[in-house]
């Protein structure tokens, strides 16, 4: 079996007395889009930075395509956009991408730069200096630079925080396209609706620990079955889809007229709030 693109094992990190991560396990497979959720200070950015080799772990380890995080091979396989990033204001979008092509050793040339700028809808801004761009444009340019050299793993830390709804849609469509191409993506985000919409897998971290993980469907389990009858709407808390025929049969047997049956699921927000227990950073 092929090694996962990103394998996080028993990862821990301490900053002095503060425990940022405490034994986190996580895997991201090729073509998988994993959303990493958690309150501020939960350890999401620390995990991402360890995977990039920016931060040294205190215990456990991270591998990228079977190579230790931070090794030249691991770095060559990934693209990264930090939550707080800045590019030299004096250089143009095209110059920035050219610099990163040289840093990665990409032979894509002008065609790759043009394709990436078009992908993030900055095709007309190739000659524009970074300092003249809006924050949203810079963030899209950041996503573009992370894709230089066709990385197998993309680590994005709040990539849509400065984007307007149109910009978010552009990035969302881009991530879906990358998934189709088999790129593994780890997406740190506070935007639950966005994660729910595009991620195959969600991991929730709180207090440096992985508190919940699974597909959005697994996490968002059934919350209730709601039945509209002649005597009003009846809610059966905790009932699942499989329970619906039995509930309807019992109601009919009891002489109720049934007009509508709806299986309600808990939203990712409900799951998240339940998992983090109201923590905020």
């Amino acid at each position: 079996m092929a090694a996962p693109v990103l394998a996080v094992r028993e990862l821990s990190k301490r900053y002095g007395k503060q425990e940022a991560l405490a034994g986190v396990d996580l895997q991201v497979e090729a073509g998988q889009l994993v959303g990493l959720l958690g309150p501020n200070g939960a350890g999401k950015s620390t995990l991402t930075k360890i995977a990039c080799g920016l931060v040294r772990p205190s215990g456990g380890g991270v591998e990228v395509l079977g190579q230790p995080a931070g090794s030249p091979e691991a770095r060559a396989a990934l693209g990264y956009l930090a939550e707080l990033f800045r590019f030299p204001g004096w250089c143009t979008a095209d110059e920035l991408l050219r610099l990163h092509q040289r840093l990665v050793g990409s032979a894509g040339g002008e065609a790759e730069r043009r394709e990436l700028l078009d992908l993030v809808e900055l095709g007309d801004a190739a000659g524009k200096r970074v300092e003249a761009m809006s924050k949203g444009m810079q963030q899209r340019l950041g996503v573009g630079q992370a894709l230089i050299g066709s990385p197998r793993l993309l680590l994005l830390d709040e990539p849509t925080s400065a984007l307007d709804p149109v910009g978010r849609r552009i990035v969302r469509e881009l991530l879906e396209e990358l998934r189709r191409r088999g790129v593994a993506v780890l997406l740190n985000s506070h935007l639950l609706s966005e994660v729910e919409l595009i991620c195959d897998h969600v991991a929730i971290i709180a207090g440096g620990r992985l508190v919940k993980a699974g597909t959005p469907a697994e996490l968002a389990g059934p919350a209730a079955v709601e039945v509209e009858t002649a005597s009003g709407v009846k809610t059966f808390e905790g009932a699942a889809r499989e329970d619906a025929p039995r509930i309807v049969a019992e109601l009919v047997a009891a002489g109720e007229q049934v007009y509508r049956v709806e299986v309600r699921h808990s939203s990712l927000e409900d799951v998240y709030l339940d998992a983090v227990g109201g923590q905020t950073g």
Binding site: L54, E73, Y80, F87, H100, L103, G105, G142
Partner: protein, 290 residues
Amino acid sequence: MSGGQLRSAAAVVGLSIQEGVRKRVFLAVLVLTAGFLALFALGAHFAFRDVDEFASGVPGVLDAHAFTGATIFGLAMFATLFLGAVLAVFLTLGVVRGDAESGLLQPIVVRPIGRTTMLVARFAGAALLSAAYVVFVYLASCAITEATGNWSPDHLLGPALGLALAVAIIAALSLLASTVLSVTAQGIVVFMVFGAGLTAGLMAQIGNAINSDSLHEIGRVASWALPFEGLYAASLHALISDTSGLTGVVLQLGPFGGSEAAGPGLIAWAFAYLLGVLALAAFVFSRRDL
């Protein structure tokens, strides 16, 4: 180092140079340098004219013309070193901690280049630009004294290379400071170290003049601890090292201040010092969480 790392290193060197050249501050440096050279040319012109008038027809053992040329050129050397130091510090300001705090560093460090290569490449960019700058200003000053007073130093290239190596050391010290200090603290500390180095040179000179072995020794040790000063003093000395007679003696005692011949091994020590500072900076950087 692999071919890929060399390409990446060249990219970072290019980035450092472009960054330095394309910032507005560099334009200010060029304008101020042009101003300095213009003033220097004016000062040299009047100094040579007045001393020639003053000394004409007065036969003496002191060569007033050579004395004037060496003195004003020595002052130009000081200004050149100072401007080169300012440029070296400016080009390395916030390169590690400052850029990490602002988020400029991370997109580059996550690339396969590796931290040590990146740091050395940033140093190379800053050192090349600063060294090229001091060599240019030195040669321009030289051309000015030649044109205005028909005077040129005894050794042309040695002092230029000494100044270039001195600013490279200042760039390395500044880079080391940037691994641990914030931008403001880095600037303050490096200029204080620069001042301390020059003061050490003056102490050695004063010790020499008043025949105080202790003072001379303290100054000498301090100037070896900060070898950019030793290189500067050696460069000053090389300007007039072939000047003989009373003129040579007076020049070595007086207006230059801090002029002292390079002791054995100064250049080797300066290179070893440079490598040591870079190795320490690379070690600190490699241990740093970003």
